[in-house]
């Protein structure tokens, strides 16, 4: 039996994911998204979050799936804080908050469907690697 996790469950495209609540600073609607030329696809753009610069990441690229639609004004996003870095993940829908049991990197929701549990520490590190790898 795994550990109990407080998670937020959300959907990007057809896939559903969960992230532990302790990493989530807030759920926001994105304002104008500024493109960053020369940046790799993982960086969807920059937004103004309460006067600070917020990088918006593309989850699909991070998971080595085909990239999703570009982040745009009005999209929903989860603001995460890990590794002293604040970034946002564009999401299509936020479902609910729940306490679920983790087994081997996945949790199972109330209907018995497995959800990928995303680790913001790994996400941040991977994003930094991808951005640093781009010759600019």
């Amino acid at each position: 039996m795994g550990e109990l996790r407080n998670v937020i469950v959300f959907a990007i495209g057809a896939a559903r994911y969960a992230i532990e609540l302790r990493w989530v600073r807030e759920v926001v609607t994105l304002g104008f998204v500024t493109a960053v030329p020369t940046a790799p696809p993982v960086l969807g753009g920059l937004c103004n979050l309460h006067g600070a610069i917020l990088p918006v990441l593309d989850v699909a690229t991070l998971l080595e799936l085909p990239p999703g639609p570009p982040a745009r004004q009005g999209d929903g996003a989860l603001v995460l804080e890990a590794e002293a870095t604040v970034c946002a993940l564009r999401v299509d829908q936020v479902d609910h908050v729940a306490s679920l049991v983790e087994t081997e990197g996945a949790v199972v929701d109330a209907t018995g469907r497995p959800l990928t549990l995303l680790d913001p520490v790994k996400i941040t590190r991977r994003a930094l690697e991808l951005i640093a790898a781009e010759p600019s």
Binding site: G31, F32, T34, A35, V36, P37, T38, A39, L43, L46, C47, N48, H50, G51, A52, I53, P55, E83, A84, T85, V86, C87, T124, A127, L128, I131, A132, E134, S136
Partner: protein, 759 residues
């Protein structure tokens, strides 16, 4: 080229400087007048009013604003008359002067932003200034109650200064009929000379020890600390690269290890080399890791440095409240409404840069309250409200945020009417208007809708509130509106206590706005299609196609270009459109974007969009790909050094103008704001040229020169006097002291070069 003193951008920047300097100087005049109520200010105060007006005159000439020179001259003369003849002062003079200084402030802004049409304002101001010394009461003055009328029934507008946050209702209800005598103390504290004069008292309170520091010097330190931040980012990027190399090296070593296979007598040498390599790779990894830790420590120290400097530069809410009092005074005169201003939390401290940005929003909110909020006296009587309306401004600190609340006790916002207007103007659907809460409706205020259908001159169509929202958003804050129908409206501004401002040139590429720090942008030009080089000021500069660099196609048309220099190397960057110079707020990009070397930082526009700041060091490297790597790290100046010059003048605009002119001739320029400071600087350093003004606080120009000539090191140093008052007596004295030349303000480059050429 030789008879143009400044190029357009430089002139624009100098004029902006002049603008803020003129505003400060006029503020001093207003403060002196307001501090003595409607009585005639002391001789000393009038002397200072003349001196600062004189300074405006000199600076205006140098930045080529002749019309302003004339007005400042007239005002100075009027003050001279007032100083000589006490009979000239009438009960109305104080208000008239405040009106003139307010008018001049607006005029300066107009002259710089849209000179066309400014002449009308100038004509008006000339009449107003002429009226100052005209003892007949000006005919068109409204019959508004004045301070000197001591009638009990008269309502006197007043500032109530409460020490701490306290409920509004607790303010004494008779404060509205306070006599002018009780008014003086709070006003006096508001306008204490040190609060507004150019040199500000800072530092230690309590034990009486104070340090006098000119605000600019702190600003300079602030920008150095800002530069430090950019430097750190550059170093960090290099170390990140080093870390990648270390990682690659470790991998290569592993491959080598695998290729060598088991150790044997035959490959002993290889095995030993591989072991050594392993040790070296490990050391490199450790060192880079340690370096990164140290950079992190550096980041913290720089942060502390910036916070410390910001604390020194802190302003209190007092100056902002003084501004509000003056604005309300003008509004009362324009509308005839009787409104008192209450201010709470005047000791709340926040960044001077933030305070400056808040002047316009506060003016707008006051206008708004007077135009939309406060009812005419008969309507107030009907509702059983006291005849004197009140506007309260509270300032307080909430964690890292400054909270400013401006409340009026007027009619409140009619949310039903606002809902109708939102629907009528097609901004909202009928369904949305129905579902929205009153709070949602209030939030729509200032996004292009106004409560009133008609626009009036005081506060039209909610556009003013747009400006408030934009300014506050740019500072990284937000505006909340709350209102109780019939009881009043409150605007709450929540924003960071401090901010780091910089000048930048903004331009568009591929539909997005980008910025380059203004210090590195020297000009703008046009670039022919296909050109790889272009001539700017007789110099061949490489063309860097920014549209290609930023991921857009190159088009076959003439494009505007920004001329950028960094560390002695220049280039022309092509853009879609030049937006122009702006003051921007620098926001760090954060660790995720650190590897993207093209961007130094970002800023946030008035509409809340993120805009990227390009790193000129990187751009210059791309424009000169064949140049050695040293470019950008080693600032190599192609200029032949002429020597070290000291410029002494109490006007910052003149100091900047001289620095720029002399700098172009190869001089290293130091500046001092008065003779005393200059003398102190000459004791520490030798100068090859001294350029000084005559009239300055502390130690004047002639005294400075006499003291310098007493010093063996400065016996024969060339000295040039710049002055707006050159009479024969001055010339005689200058000759006696061995002054090389006396140059009349306004200074032009030609005049200065001629003076320097005299031997």
């Amino acid at each position: 080229m030789s008879d143009i003193d400044f190029d357009d951008d430089e002139l624009a920047m100098l004029r902006q400087l002049f603008r803020s300097e003129a505003h400060d100087a006029l503020e001093v005049v207003t403060a002196r007048v307001l501090s003595s109520g409607s009585a005639r200010p002391s001789g000393e105060a009038i002397g200072e009013m003349m001196r600062v007006t004189h300074t405006i005159k000199g600076s205006a000439g140098t930045v080529g604003l002749g019309a302003m020179v004339d007005l400042a001259h007239r005002l100075e003369s009027a003050f001279a008359v007032i100083g000589r003849d006490p009979q000239v002062w009438t009960a109305a003079t104080a208000d008239q002067i405040v009106e003139v200084t307010d008018g001049l402030r607006g005029y300066v802004d107009q002259l710089i932003a849209q000179p066309a049409g400014a002449e009308h304002t100038a004509a008006q101001l000339r009449t107003q200034i002429a009226n100052l010394t005209n003892t007949e009461p000006p005919p068109e003055r409204p019959s508004f109650p004045r301070f000197e009328h001591h009638s009990e029934s008269m309502v006197i507008p007043t500032i109530v200064t409460a020490g701490a946050l306290e409920p509004l209702g607790d303010a004494p209800s008779d404060s509205a009929v306070a006599s002018p005598r009780t008014l003086t103390p709070p006003l006096g504290t508001l306008t204490a000379p040190t609060a507004l004069a150019e040199t500000r008292d800072l530092g230690v309170r309590g034990d009486g020890r104070q340090l006098r520091v000119e605000p600019e010097r702190i600003d300079n330190l602030m920008s150095s600390a800002g530069e430090l931040l950019f430097d750190r980012t550059r170093i960090e990027r290099r170390v990140q690269l080093l870390r990648t190399v270390a990682r690659d090296l470790a991998r290569t070593r592993q491959n080598l290890r695998d290729a060598i296979g088991p150790s044997s007598a035959a490959n002993r040498g290889l095995v030993e080399a591989e072991t050594e390599l392993a040790g070296q790779a490990a050391l490199l990894s450790q060192t880079t890791a340690a370096l990164l830790d140290e950079i992190e420590a550096l980041r913290r120290t720089i942060g502390e440095l910036q916070r410390g400097l910001t604390r020194i530069r802190m302003d209190t809410a007092r100056n902002l409240f003084l501004h509000a009092a003056r604005t309300l005074r003008a509004l009362r005169r324009a509308t005839g409404l009787v409104v008192e201003l209450r201010t709470l939390g005047e000791d709340t401290e926040f960044d001077k840069a933030v305070a400056e940005q808040l002047v316009d929003p506060i003016t707008q909110l006051l206008r708004n309250a007077v135009a939309h909020g406060i009812e005419p006296p008969d309507e107030r009587a009907q509702r059983g409200k006291p005849p004197t309306a009140s506007i309260t401004i509270r300032a307080r600190q909430d964690g890292n945020l400054l909270v400013l609340e401006l409340s009026d006790d007027g009619r409140g916002v009619d949310t039903a009417a606002l809902r109708e207007r939102l629907v009528a103007t097609n901004r909202w659907s009928a369904a949305r208007a129905q579902l929205a809460t009153d709070g949602d409706v209030l939030d729509a205020l200032g996004t292009g809708v106004s409560v009133r259908g008609d626009a009036d001159e005081l506060a039209g169509r909610g556009i003013g509130l747009d400006v408030v929202r934009q300014t506050v958003a740019r500072l990284g804050g937000e505006v909340k509106v709350s209102s109780v129908p019939g009881r009043g409206t409150t605007f709450s501004l929540r924003l960071p206590l401090s901010t780091s401002l910089a000048q930048a040139m903004l331009f568009k590429v591929g539909g997005q706005v980008y910025a380059i720090p203004a210090v590195h942008v020297v000009d703008t030009t046009l670039v022919e299609p296909g050109a790889t080089f272009t001539t700017v000021r007789h110099e061949q500069l490489p063309v860097l196609r920014l549209e290609a660099l930023l991921g857009h196609g190159i088009t076959q048309e003439r494009r505007p270009g920004v001329v950028v220099t960094f560390a002695g190397k220049g280039f022309v960057g092509t853009v879609d459109k030049i937006v122009g110079p702006r003051e921007i707020i620098i926001k760090p990009l954060g660790p995720l974007l650190a590897p993207l070397t093209l961007y130094a930082a970002a800023t946030i526009s008035g509409s809340g969009k993120v805009q990227l700041i390009l790193d000129p060091a990187q751009l210059v490297r791309r424009a000169h790909p064949d140049a050695p790597e040293a470019i950008g790290e080693l600032a190599s100046s192609p200029m032949v050094l002429a020597g070290r010059a000291l410029v002494v003048d109490d006007s910052r605009a003149i100091r900047e103008a001289m620095t720029s002119m002399l700098g172009r001739e190869g001089w290293i320029v130091d500046v001092a704001e008065d003779g005393a400071r200059a003398l102190q600087m000459t004791r520490q350093l030798r100068y090859d040229l001294v350029v000084t003004d005559l009239e300055m606080p502390e130690l004047n120009g002639f005294d400075l020169i006499a003291r310098l000539r007493d010093d063996a090191r400065f016996k024969t140093t060339p000295i040039v006097i710049i002055t707006s008052r050159a009479n024969p007596e001055h010339r005689r004295r200058a000759k006696e002291l061995g002054v090389r030349a006396l140059v009349a303000k306004p200074i032009t480059r030609r005049k200065l070069l001629e003076a320097l050429a005299l031997r």
